[in-house]
């Protein structure tokens, strides 16, 4: 299968099975799409372009044979990552919060040290011989339970010394409570930060008010700038959400870049609130934003001022292996979320939905049915993914999005698919443009 598209003067072809990416001139692009006529191109050009396309096909870089079945995992699928919900409480009241403004539909609560310790013990046991483990301190707002975060980190470091395991620690925060002492501590422990800000002040303030209903932009921006500067611009992402209220979100990405942030992620909202939900009628505007963004990112890169936009940050030479590409994020199999009481869920987006509770940190996984369903979910189990050119980049999409929209892990969320495909085209275009500029000038 080959996917080809043309954008801003560059023709790109992706050979899906091999993941080879080609830039084509107009003649070879027309040939590839069965549109090369003698009134448009010379016989010489058609002949030489045909020969080049045939050579690529013979070399397995075009029209190549797809993987026919799911390769087996080298190791057993083992839980290696936890999303630790240390606080089901929050000091903001974001309108689109999938966590119900922090409480996940239940009482506001904090995780105790005993539960956090048991969660780490569970992870160490469940991860077996795997060396690399991950914990994301999440919420609600995890800094509302900083003492337990600190105890957990101390405990994890001790385990690293004793076992040789390596823990990657991340903390996802709204930045309200990021003061100098907290920042210094998180830097000293090499904790990656995911810092939430939505972009322009009116957008951010409208959707991310504090408990009194006041905008949080100034306070949040101050905290994030301080944190990013203190770690020399390393080991962080600023992360925002766009909704139906800001389908011109290109402006928000640029606003964040203009604040000096070089690692930016802006995500489509997940919400059931009608006025914020993204709908198919928004897609033309959303696609335009992704196009504007790709062009602007090239400009930044060309000026030696590169911005990493999370969804465009693909690595065409050193990307994930085929097994990872086929099997996806690992929610429910490699990755679980822990609520403040110690209950286990397939991922953070399922927390609070009791029908998705798969066990607890003391007893481990006790309900294997959902885990097995998610472990089996792959691009091969999703009929709509078989013929999709993007399948080895998105792995069939987010399980939670699929379930929330279609009540089926194996039925992709179509609006998400369309946005994903546009993002991937723009990511490929950006790579092609950068390549051509580096090689040819």
């Amino acid at each position: 299968m080959v996917h080809s598209f043309s954008f801003d003067g560059i023709n790109v072809a992706l050979d899906v099975a091999s993941n080879s990416v080609h830039v084509l001139d107009d003649c070879s692009y027309a040939l590839l799409n069965g549109q090369a006529t003698k009134d448009r191109f010379s016989e010489t050009d058609i002949s030489s372009a045909t020969a080049e396309l045939e050579r690529l096909t013979a070399a397995g870089r075009l029209h190549s044979q797809d993987v026919l079945k799911l390769p087996k995992f080298n190791g057993r699928r083992q839980v290696k990552a936890l999303c630790l919900h240390v606080a089901h409480d929050c000091n903001l009241r974001c309108r689109y919060c999938f966590a119900g403004t922090g409480d996940f539909g239940h009482d506001r609560s904090l995780m105790t040290w005993e539960v956090a310790k048991a969660a780490v013990d569970f992870l160490v046991g469940a991860s077996g011989s795997r060396q690399h483990c991950e914990i994301d301190f999440f919420g609600g707002e995890p800094l509302m339970n900083l003492p337990v975060v600190k105890q957990t980190i101390d405990y994890v470091r001790d385990i690293e010394r004793k076992t040789g395991k390596i823990f990657k620690l991340t903390l996802t925060t709204n930045a309200v409570a990021l003061n100098d002492d907290v920042i210094k501590y998180l830097n000293s422990e090499n904790v990656s930060l995911v810092l939430s800000i939505d972009g322009r002040k009116p957008i951010h303030d409208q959707l991310r008010p504090d408990c009194a209903g006041n905008g949080s932009y100034e306070q949040v921006l101050r905290g994030i700038k301080r944190a990013v500067e203190s770690r020399s611009g390393k080991n962080y992402y600023v992360r925002g959400t766009f909704t139906a209220k800001n389908t011109d979100f290109f402006e928000d990405v640029i606003h964040l870049a203009e604040q000096g942030f070089a690692e930016i992620s802006l995500e489509p909202v997940v919400t059931s609130i009608a006025e914020l939900q993204l709908q198919s009628e928004h897609l033309p505007e959303i696609f335009l934003q992704y196009e504007l963004l790709a062009k602007k990112l090239f400009e930044y890169w060309h000026e030696d001022n590169a911005i990493n936009f999370f969804h465009y940050n693909i690595d065409l030479n050193n990307g994930p292996c085929i097994v990872k590409r086929i099997s996806g994020c690992g929610a429910g199999s490699d990755y679980l979320a822990v609520d403040p009481t110690g209950k286990l869920f397939p991922c953070h987006q399922f927390v609070g939905k009791t029908e998705f509770c798969v066990g607890n940190v003391l007893d481990g996984i006790t309900d294997h049915s959902i885990v097995e369903q998610l472990s089996a979910a792959s691009v091969f189990s999703k009929p709509e993914c078989g013929d999709c050119w993007a399948k080895y980049f998105c792995s069939g999409g987010c399980h939670a999005n699929n379930y929330n929209h279609n009540s089926d892990f194996n039925k992709p969320y179509q609006l998400g698919c369309q946005m994903q495909k546009k993002r991937l085209e723009m990511a490929l275009w950006l790579k092609a443009k950068q390549y051509l500029n580096s090689k040819i000038g």
Partner: protein, 50 residues
Amino acid sequence: MNQHVVTINDTDIRKNVENSGCGECQTSCQSACKTSCTVGNQVCINEEVK
């Protein structure tokens, strides 16, 4: 020397299938997104170490 087509990467994801799936790479949704899974923008940790 190709005149019409430039290939910009030099990998084939179908190769080395036997040695793939070690599971040491980062969980995709832990990095920055949290609401929209993308696997293609990750890197292979084994290749990274080499």
